[in-house]
């Protein structure tokens, strides 16, 4: 490995080594507080993200494993951003709820490393390694609240489902390798699809890969784990799981898709059906949820359906839309979970939607952030979510999937209802004055500066991407137009 390759790998090195350093730091300096640990972790992710954004690697690829195209660096930076915000949110949260000591930031860094690895990998093997390092860290993170049985239950559920999906994924990869004889993503996908028709082995391989991916990003009908895991896991971890891990898996999915040629089209009927099921099921099931975290679980299922719509249109022009949607989703879902984490007190995460009653007037900043995140998730302007949805439907119609766009719009209309429901509780249902002390008020923790800073960043991002998305769209379209390597 040349020195140039080592330099090019700098963001990954910062994350990986940072993770180890954090782990050791806890052992050598046991008196360091949780807050300081989380902040150091945040600083490490921030530096990794900044490096990924601004440096220019001299080599296009390292070890036939990791690519440094604009696409890879974008998703590396996005993973770092998600981890950064997660750690900032965790700083206050971990003072109230036991999230583990130094291993917590260390594992978040390691998961971010896995995400960056997964989305940058140009080899089938690398994709598997990235996926596993990310998921392993998440298994532990979800169960990291040892005092809470729900957290443990969520961890076990995710572990079982994750193990099954990993098995599918690994088997799919090996079938693809068997079919093509190469581990390079580009070469393998080309070999499978260039004749315009996939071989039976290749199709079975892709089907296995789709099952694995479907579990990881919770596409229907592989979504069943999501509501329980979202409900049980600690809010900051779920924020990270819901945004970073899904964005990274989708990045790999996009890479596989865009490396293929015409033969990939034989997957479209399956993906079409999965997208419709996901959008419809996610949005309809969310209608009846009374628990905010479960509601967000179904919402994020549905949101992934929209990304899938853009991905189906990716061979046309949907690639940019899919990447922009993922970016917007990361910002708005982190904001939603960030507020949930900030509202969650000692006794557990805020659960019933009833707990949000009238909070809009007691905690205006956090409530405004939550409302903004929900308006954005619902796809209303002037937020990032609107530009993202617009891009998805535009890409779908442009590539000829008009029915898919119509179904997408119809499900988006359904979704408005449950997103509004949360806003209604925040602002239009005052706390019950018949109770002497409203329960919610006493349990809501005081604001913490780091969490508020994170929310302010996210709100700014949601609005900026909604009003002036031009620069970001240019950037994304720019690197999508080049080979993703």
């Amino acid at each position: 490995m040349s020195i140039q390759e080592l330099y090019a790998l700098l963001p990954l090195e910062i994350l990986g080594i940072g993770s180890m350093v954090m782990l050791l730091a806890g052992a050598f300096f046991p008196s360091v507080g949780k807050k300081a640990l989380n902040f150091s972790g945040a600083a490490i992710t921030l530096s990794a993200g900044l490096v990924a954004t601004f440096y220019s690697p001299a080599v296009p690829e390292a070890g036939h494993m990791i690519g440094f195209s604009g696409f890879s660096l974008f998703f590396t930076a996005l993973s770092c951003f998600a981890a950064f915000i997660t750690l900032l949110i965790s700083a206050g949260y971990s003072e109230r709820r036991p999230l583990g000591e130094e291993e917590y930031p260390s594992l978040v860094l390691f998961a971010a490393f896995g995400m960056a690895f997964l989305s940058s990998s140009t080899s089938l093997l690398g994709i598997f390694v990235g996926l596993e390092s990310m998921t392993l860290a998440l298994y532990i993170l979800i169960a990291s609240n040892k005092a809470d049985p729900l957290s443990g239950e969520a961890g076990v559920k995710y572990l079982v489902v994750g193990a099954v999906s990993t098995a599918f994924f690994a088997f799919g990869l090996s079938l693809v390798y068997f079919d093509t004889g190469t581990l390079s993503v580009t070469a393998a996908m080309q070999a499978m699809t260039h004749t315009g028709k996939m071989s039976p082995v290749g199709l079975v391989g892709w089907a296995m890969l789709l099952v694995g991916i479907g579990f990881k990003v919770s596409l229907a009908p592989f979504h069943l784990w999501a509501p329980d895991v979202y409900e049980g896991g600690p809010a900051p971890v779920i924020a990270f799981l819901s945004t970073g891990s899904k964005a990274a898996v989708f990045a790999a999915f996009l890479r596989l898709t865009l490396a293929s040629s015409s033969g990939w089209g034989s997957l479209v009927p399956v993906l079409w059906t999965v997208a419709v099921l996901t959008m419809a099921y996610g949005n309809i099931a969310a209608l009846t949820q009374d628990n905010v975290k479960r509601l967000l679980a179904y919402s994020s299922i549905a949101q992934m359906g929209y990304v899938l719509v853009a991905l189906i249109a990716a061979p046309g022009s949907g690639g940019t839309s899919a990447v922009f949607y993922l970016l917007a989703f990361v910002a708005m879902d982190l904001a939603a979970f960030g507020v949930i984490a900030s509202f969650s007190g000692k006794d557990g995460d805020i659960g019933g939607i009833d707990g949000l009653r009238g909070l809009g007037y007691v905690y205006p900043f956090r409530s405004a952030a939550l409302a903004l995140a929900f308006f954005s998730l619902a796809g209303l302007p002037p937020t990032a979510g609107f530009i993202a949805k617009f891009g998805v439907f535009y890409a779908a119609v442009k590539s000829g999937y008009v029915y898919l766009a119509v179904i997408g719009i119809a499900t988006a209309i359904i979704s408005v209802y449950y997103y509004l429901k949360v806003v209604v509780y925040l602002y239009m249902r005052p706390a019950d004055s018949s109770k002497v002390v409203p329960l919610a008020m006493t349990a809501i923790p005081r604001p913490d500066p780091a969490g508020h800073f994170a929310l302010a960043v996210l709100m700014a991002a949601i609005i900026a991407l909604g009003i002036l998305p031009g620069g970001m769209l240019d950037l994304i379209a720019g690197f999508m137009a080049r080979p993703l390597i």
């Binding site: 940019t320 007037y361 308006f375 209303l380 302007p381 002037p382 609107f386 617009f390 439907f393 535009y394 119609v397 442009k398 008009v402 766009a405 119509v406 719009i409 988006a412 209309i413 408005v416 209802y417 509004l420 209604v424 602002y427 239009m428 249902r429 002036l468 998305p469 031009g470 769209l473 240019d474 379209a477």
Partner: protein, 504 residues
């Protein structure tokens, strides 16, 4: 002058943000009043600069900047005579809304005025955008504050009404978004230039079968907002439960965004498809005129009655637009302004009665004239204006619509005229039940009932002056409409020339 339109659109929101952080309620009200009054001043200045000069060009003022280059989206605003009138109307009604909320909105005052000012930006943006994407953005931006205004400061089943309002309009607008995307792509494929500019899109040669679907999408989006029967179900609830300022803006301005959309976007962009839809539009328009009048007659709640009267009045405006000739279009635009003034005023009057008597049931009133003669006189004036008494504003608009309509579609004109007669029935019933008769001991007027205060005079006098002035001298408003209406008619004629023309 270069940035006059941007200033108009964003001035309210520039005030809205600081308003949110002011702790003193009285100061908030004054700041909001200054902001809306400045807006009205700007609007009036533009009106006097342009209205009388007889400009021949299509646009009086334009602004155009690159925005989202990747998708060919531009930030382009343009003002012609039509948008000029609607902008001034909006600016006026927002001032009135701040004044009528002076006493009636007591809770969460900063948030209320924040929403009001944010909505003003949205509404003005809708009337001034000449880029379809920008239009859609403002279209949705004006919804969200209205949702909060009904849901937080409303009465009765306010949350139900707010959510119903929002779901209905969002459904319509998302379908419209699909139409916008479709037209954008059809145009892009044809010319290779992807753009949302209205003028460019109007030149698209849309295949008839596609055009029908696209127009249907636009039609639903606008019809929900107007609202055209049978998509009107949200309106009575939203109006009844909204605070007075909310009702004034909803009826006075928001409903016009629907008819404005048909006029500016629906018909010019897809004239051939619009032609095929004419029977449907006329039919729902006629049904709307009759049905809404009939239901209005059955109401006992004054606010609901005025709400239903809006549906019936707006149905006539839609019929006038569908007739698509110089007279009926001028009449429709004039009628949009008139309806804004008159119905806004009626909601304000009902709000004043409600504030004093804490009921809006007609049965509780009677003999108001004896108790509060000034208030009653203004109420009667606005009722007479609403039913189209010659010499008052509505007469001029309705007359033009009927003359234009009669020329092309005499049967429809006759039917619509019969419908308007019904208007007399419920409005005279309103006047008779509330204003005349004896004061009952058990009714709302039994105790002390103060007449108009100075603040209330400040609201109703300008509106009354406008009612009479427009009634006597409508050409004041019609003159700026000449050029843009000619332009619209030419666009539609040229575009549909190859297909037999719009007029049969």
């Amino acid at each position: 002058m270069q940035y006059a339109l941007t200033c108009m659109v964003f001035l309210p929101v520039a005030f809205a943000v600081p308003v949110l952080f002011i702790r003193d309620d009285a100061l908030v009200r004054w700041v909001a009043l200054v902001a809306t009054a400045a807006e009205l001043l700007l609007g009036t200045m533009l009106f006097f600069t342009f209205a009388q000069a007889g400009h021949s060009g299509k646009w009086l003022l334009v602004e155009d900047h690159a925005w989202i280059a990747q998708l060919g989206i531009r930030y382009s605003l343009g003002m012609d005579g039509i948008s000029l009138l609607l902008v001034v109307l909006s600016a006026l009604l927002f001032v009135m809304s701040v004044i009528v909320s002076w006493r009636s909105v007591k809770e969460r005052v900063p948030l209320f005025h924040f929403m009001l000012l944010l909505m003003e930006t949205g509404v003005l943006g809708v009337f001034l955008s000449t880029d379809l994407f920008l239009f859609y953005l403002f279209w949705e931006v004006m919804l969200i504050p209205m949702f909060f205004i009904i849901g937080i400061w409303g009465h009765g089943r306010r949350v139900y009404s707010a959510v119903k309002f929002f779901i209905y309009t969002v459904t319509g607008s998302l379908l419209m978004l699909l139409g916008i995307i479709g037209l954008y792509i059809v145009h892009g494929r044809q010319t290779g230039i992807y753009t949302f500019a209205l003028d460019a899109l109007a030149a698209t040669n849309v295949e008839p079968s596609t055009g029908l679907w696209l127009f249907a999408a636009f039609l639903v989006g606008f019809a929900v907002k107007v609202p055209v029967f049978p998509l009107h179900a949200w309106l009575p609830d939203a109006h009844t439960d909204a605070p007075t300022a909310g009702s004034v803006i909803l009826a006075g301005i928001m409903l016009k965004t629907g008819t404005y959309g048909l006029l500016r976007i629906g018909f010019p962009l897809l004239p051939y498809a619009a032609l095929s839809f004419l029977p449907v539009i006329f039919m729902v328009g006629l049904v709307g005129v009759f049905y809404a009048s009939w239901v209005a007659f059955a109401q006992s709640d004054m606010k609901r009655l005025v709400a239903y009267s809006s549906i019936s009045h707006l149905a006539l405006v839609v019929i006038g637009i569908a007739a698509w000739n110089e007279l009926s279009l001028a009449g429709s635009v004039l009628q949009m302004v008139n309806h804004g003034i008159t119905t806004g005023a009626l909601f304000i009057m009902v709000g004043m009665l409600d504030e004093r008597a804490h009921t809006r049931e007609m049965a509780a009133f009677g003999g108001l004239w004896a108790k509060a003669p000034a208030m009653s006189a203004f109420f009667l004036l606005f009722i007479l204006s609403s039913l189209g008494l010659p010499g008052l504003n509505n007469f001029a608009g309705e007359f033009l619509i009927f003359v234009g309509l009669f020329r092309e579609h005499p049967v429809i004109a006759a039917a619509a005229f019969a419908g308007v007669v019904w208007t007399l029935a419920y409005l005279l019933r309103l006047a008779q039940k509330v204003l005349f008769g004896p004061v009952t001991d058990t009714g709302a007027l039994a105790g002390e009932f103060p007449d108009l205060t100075a603040r209330e005079y400040a609201v109703v006098v300008p509106l009354a002056v406008l009612v009479i002035a427009i009634g006597l001298y409508p050409s004041m408003l019609l003159r700026p409409l000449d050029a843009p209406i000619q332009g619209l008619i030419v666009i539609v004629k040229v575009a549909s020339a190859g297909t037999g023309g719009l007029a049969p």
